[in-house]
């Protein structure tokens, strides 16, 4: 759907970044009301200054909302469209962005119906989503998809909720691989996503569904996007299927690569036979947030609880936190042998329609403030004051702390704080015992009774020459580093040729320039904020992240600990 999303000149679409404002309104007790929907929309409307717009100021970078599927509303709406959907959670709703071209659209719709059937699902019908294109900016209209909702009946032998959603997930993944120019914003029996290229106040106005008093939900998360580009795209708006994300995943290339190579080792009992249909897990054309969402969705659909999936991808800094209890450290370390942190500034809200959670990156680089009211609502946002509430209604005002998580379980009707939540997960399995039996430390390995290989001076001279050592490298790099334990400082800039233009030998390293953060994410201070850094590396075979058990051989990794400093 990204019409202009191609490389031109020096521009490359992969350069695009986005940040934003986020918010959520949740009834802790799970009471569904239209007020919740309306309040969440109000929040995003008050985050106007955290949203971007195009040069003309009439097209926004993207605004969206994730809601529970409102049975009250869809019963009514589907009746009008002549679709028999049955009882609550007996059906799934897909939010489809389809081509404007009628033929292509019909083909895509047909394709989805066929795939649904093939996956053993009964397709119930299509509903045209009532929209108001006339209020949008020119750019948004030009690339506006045709928006349809598709309804699917739950098979009788399938449990409500996650089990049904898993089937829908497989159908969606298959559809995504076959149909171009389409995008499924959501396909679930529990949640639905309304989003697009809007200015903040256009979301409510564009989708008539959202204005309907019968549209009721206990959970609503919203997002306003500020993109560095105005490259037209409806699908890049948030929410994704599970998350809204304010921030940026700096390590995305490595994470995506490792996710890809993990596909070989990841096996789950629930989706074992479907694995080829749902891989590759991450759509590498997506944004960093979309890829994280892909990964989380994959883990959840394979049986991992959503909060756990979030905890292991965005762990709090545990290595240097001395006051963390052992069980929690063990839990983090166990998972760190299989999953590296998806690192970068992040305030993330996630929901599967039953729970709504929020998490903050390890460094606390994004704001996340919340109120809890006397009548059991959680109101969370990038800023306070986005929703006017009488002070007397407020029970507590708080903020999410770095690396911490907050969870509302609307089914159980309670708010679960970070400590309780993590203690619960840490106590699920004897992680410490597993680690003790299976993790080797370099420092504990014996030095063999062999002599250390040493070169003679003539050999060294030849090798230094062969590897291209220069006089300065020895005298001005190696020597000061060995002397002071730190790098040498220089002054003024460079005025020597680039490696490729140099007439002298240049090692291959010199052709690579370090990238750095500016504007869309911050560099960090590894000296003053050392507590969040970690240098541990694991060697060996990573285990199957989808299966929690002691893996004597498979999950055997070696921590590299240098033995030389033991004070």
């Amino acid at each position: 759907m990204d019409n202009d999303n191609q490389q031109m000149g020096l521009y490359d679409p992969s350069f695009e970044h986005d940040n934003c404002g986020i918010g959520a309104v949740v009834s802790i007790k799970g009471i569904k009301t239209h007020q919740t929907v309306s309040d969440a929309l109000k929040i995003v409307e008050n985050l106007e200054h955290r949203a971007g717009k195009d040069a003309a100021g009439e097209t926004g970078d993207g605004v969206g909302i994730l809601l529970q599927i409102s049975h009250k509303f869809f019963k009514k709406a589907c009746k009008a469209s002549g679709i028999a959907i049955g009882d609550e959670r007996e059906y799934g709703v897909g939010m489809f962005f389809l081509p404007q071209d009628e033929l292509k659209r019909k083909q895509a719709m047909k394709m989805f119906e066929i795939i649904a059937a093939k996956e053993g699902l009964e397709f119930l019908g299509w509903r045209e989503v009532p929209t108001k294109a006339e209020i949008l900016g020119k750019l948004a209209v030009e690339c506006m998809p045709h928006i349809m909702q598709g309804f699917i009946k739950k098979p009788a032998d399938c449990n409500k909720g996650l089990d049904f959603d898993r089937k829908l997930y497989v159908a969606r993944r298959v559809f995504e691989q076959t149909a171009e120019d389409t995008y499924v914003a959501s396909l679930s029996s529990r949640t639905i996503v309304y989003k697009g290229m809007f200015l903040v106040d256009q979301l409510r106005l564009f989708f008539e569904d959202l204005q309907d008093e019968d549209y009721e939900s206990a959970i609503a998360t919203v997002h306003s996007r500020f993109s560095t580009n105005t490259n037209p795209s409806w699908e890049r708006a948030h929410p994704n299927r599970f998350i809204v994300h304010n921030g940026e995943i700096n390590t995305i290339k490595g994470n995506a690569d490792k996710m890809l190579s993990r596909e070989e080792t990841m096996v789950s009992q629930v989706l074992e036979s479907e694995m080829t249909k749902i891989t590759p897990v991450c759509n590498q054309a997506g944004s960093d947030s979309a890829m994280l969402d892909n990964a989380l969705e994959f883990l959840v659909m394979n049986g991992m609880p959503l909060p756990l999936a979030v905890m292991i991808t965005i762990p709090e800094p545990w290595v240097k936190n001395k006051s963390m209890e052992q069980a929690r450290r063990d839990f983090y370390q166990y998972y760190s042998t299989m999953m590296e942190p998806w690192d970068g500034p992040a305030s993330i809200l996630f929901s599967d329609g039953d729970i709504m959670g929020a998490v903050l990156d390890r460094n606390g680089l994004r704001p996340s403030r919340y109120y809890i009211t006397n009548d059991d609502y959680l109101i969370l946002s990038s800023e306070v004051g986005v929703l006017p509430i009488e002070e007397s209604r407020i029970k507590a005002k708080d903020r999410l702390k770095p690396g911490k998580m907050l969870l509302v379980d609307t089914v159980e009707g309670r708010l679960i704080a970070d400590d309780e939540l993590k203690a619960t997960f840490a106590a699920r399995k004897p992680y410490g015992q597993w680690l003790d039996a299976n993790l080797a430390h370099l420092s504990e390995i014996k030095i063999p009774n062999e002599s250390v290989p040493v070169y003679t001076q003539p050999e060294r001279d030849k090798l230094q020459k062969a590897f291209g050592y220069s006089y300065e490298e020895i005298k001005e790099s190696i020597l000061p580093m060995a002397l002071n334990g730190g790098e040498n400082t220089g002054a003024m800039g460079i005025d020597v040729p680039l490696a490729v233009l140099s007439k002298h030998h240049q090692p291959l390293f010199n052709y690579f320039k370090q990238l750095f953060a500016q504007v869309t994410n911050p560099p960090i201070d590894s000296i003053r904020e050392e507590i969040v850094t970690a240098t541990t590396i694991y060697l060996g075979t990573a285990g199957n992240v989808l299966e929690e058990k002691k893996k004597t051989v498979i999950c055997f990794r070696l921590i590299i600990l240098s033995l030389l400093l033991q004070i």
């Binding site: 031109m8 606390g364 800023e383 291959l508 990238l515 003053r528 498979i554």
Partner: protein, 956 residues
Amino acid sequence: MLQINNPILTTTDLMKIKSMKVPGLKAETVPIIYYKNTSLEKAIEHLFVEVDRVNREGANIIILSDRGVDENHVAIPSLLAVAAVQRHLVQTKKRTSLSVILESGEPREVHHFATLLGYGASAINPYLAQETIAELIEKGQLKKDVHAAVDAYNEAVINGIIKIASKMGISTVQSYQGAKIFEAIGISTDVIDKYFTGTISRIGGITLKDIEEQVDMQHSQAFDPLDLDVDETLDSRGQHKMRSGAEEHLYNPATIHLLQLSTRTGDYNTFKEYTSLVNEEDNIRNLRGLIDFNYPKKGISIDEVESVDSIVKRFKTGAMSYGSISKEAHETMAIAMNMLHGKSNSGEGGEEDERYEIGPDGLNRCSAIKQVASGRFGVTSKYLVSAKEIQIKMAQGAKPGEGGHLPGKKVYPWIAKTRLSTPGVALISPPPHHDIYSIEDLAELIYDLKNANKDARISVKLVSEAGVGTIASGVAKAGAQVILISGYDGGTGAAPKSSIHNAGLPWELGLAEAHQTLMMNGLRNKVVIETDGKLMSGRDVAIACALGAEEFGFATAPLVTMGCVMMRVCNLDTCPVGVATQNPELRKRFSGKPEYVVNFMRFIAEELREYMAQLGCKTVDELCGRTDLLKVKDNCKNGAYGKVDMSAVLNNPFEGEKISYENKNVYNFELEKTVDEKILLKKLSSAIKAGKPSELTVDISNTDRSLGTLLGAELTRHFGESLEEDTYRVNCHGAGGQSFGAFIPKGLTLELEGDSNDYFGKGLSGGKLIVYPSKEATYKQDENIIIGNVALYGATSGKAFINGVAGERFAVRNSGATAVVEGCGDHGCEYMTGGCVVVLGTTGKNFAAGMSGGIAYVLDEDATLYKRLNKSMVSLETVTDKYDVLELKEIIKEHVKATGSVKGKEVYENFSEYLPKFKRIVPFDYKKMMQTIVQMEEKGLSSEQAQIEAFNLLCR
């Protein structure tokens, strides 16, 4: 026991891994050497086969080793081997089932290790580098135990890598490993796609064959193919400092001499001699060297071209702080640029008050551009109001993504004064702006600064890298009016050498990308694009202009005209020509004059005009973005230089009608809609005119950002710093938007009943802020989060009373404000250099990290602060000194009076009971310096003399 995790292995470590007998782990060595004269491509194919084989046989740790290089064996470049194997393992989905260790003689510099980890190695044993250390010890050049020296070296490497990862905002090596956070420059697409997949590489370059030849050639220098004797002394490469016969430097004795001579004598012909050396045809040193002009058949007469006087208005000098260069040099540049109606840049160290006014000699020493960098040194309301342009420095070409550290011995009393800090106490600039973690944050800072001086242009300085164009678009959307694309080759007072050489890109790429991307987004005419980075001649400027720049910055060249001879000792405070030093003796040797700088700028403009005439362009605007007037030099189309493909730079796909900045399109901040304009300034205007106190009340919400800032700027313009506290009071109800009370000066008080967001009291410049919860609130005051993250960032003076808990990084970089808060998040008082903070509750982790000055009092009721305190620079003590006790009590009293704090009242009324529970946090060096100053004052010295004497005593 201290455990050190380090992926840099000693040879002993590697031996252990090779020989370990742990069930489930099997390490196997795979050589990455091959017979000379085999093709490199085949060697790599063979490597894959070997890796697959040992993996099949059960190895899950693979050691790639180049031990065994001899007459017949050459090594695959280690980076190529690692990247190729990583790529192979990802493709075959085996990457997470095994790990790769590299045993190689090649890596030796931090950057080498960073690339190896970044492309997939899990650990590295640099055996030759480590043996070289042993050699240095044997030869007596390094006096240290060999194990300790190797350890120190490994430590330096891993710290360097963490620093490189931090530049990208990555905090764990595990995430950095394999994340490929590099851009390749000068490598062909074939090699990239095949082995370095996903890496950006935009100008083509060397092929696998070229790499093979280079390896061969290097090998032959060590092992002569005909078995003849070879010269085994190592080459001197002159990568950093100039060495004869080695790498070609643009600034060499000949060019420096000619440049100085021409600007001193005002002789344009000599200047032309200088530029002809700089532009030497067959000595190509940068991308612009590959470019030639595509002259039209007929040019125009030079008389038709825009005048020198008009062109020099677009010229600027680079941002160099007063502190990195001497007062004399700093002022000379300001005077020169003001004479020309160009712009000089204050740099990030503030500016002396006297310079805001025209001097008694009629000279204007006020820098037109005031820089706002992450340290916010000297950024006050007055400083901002004095600017014509306010520049937000996002990154610096020489060390993008890094902060700075000015050692105490360079903080001379006069430097401390303009930076509003303490003499002799180190100053730290954080790597990030703590109010910019993302694009909407930058939009907020731009908005704040526009409020702080609505007449100034807001400029954002970026460093060229892949994707800078997209960032520039975001910056334009955020409201910047000028975007500076800085080259990687810009200067610095001090930076790690690996950063100077290995981070950032030439401005040619960044500038072209920015121009193209802004065009694509329809944003180009909203912003001025400026560029800098070793611009040395009119030709350089003409090329920059054709690639899309409209304004131009010069830094090294003006320094040279003022006497700099490129000794490259700026970091040592020993500059022999008095330019980059504060040492009073060396400063006497300064011989620069404004006229020299003026001559340089005018010569550049004159030379630019000559090119413009030949190109048929009457104005700079006409030349701007005309890539059709550029082409690749004829003699660079083939041969070694022909490998570089400049088409992405020169073929602008968005080229069409000429587009450059137009004033009418500038971003509209809608300041007329602010509470300040609509209510505060309207209602207070007569009182301000009359200089009479006044008070008013307003309702506000989170969309009212930077409240009080416009009013504050107006007060600064009218009264400077002369107002009495509380002269103007604004009582607010509701939720304060971001940057509540940013930069407000003395005399203005904002009182808020409700709560507030991030950046509360940013850059507070003497004003007073009071915030307390609503009277109807039922929750406990001292448990409620009342203000957001990063409050009082860069505050220089003033007071803040906060009846509740603050978020992360409270009072970060505070250099003079007094604040009371009832609890705060992580990293409180980080980088603080002055002022006083009282915390009547619990702090978060890492309190006082990098705090070099000022004092914090923390009510530590459960005696757990020691766990959360970062003790590297501060001491934790009880409050015993009677003056301290008095000070603390007074501050709490004022807090209670201002906010009605319940907790504060409890503490105040039972002060003797609470006093033992208070902890006083004071930085070591600061304490020592303050005590010495007091001693000097007691001897009868004036406060200024006392500072100088104390500084001389402790730091010289």
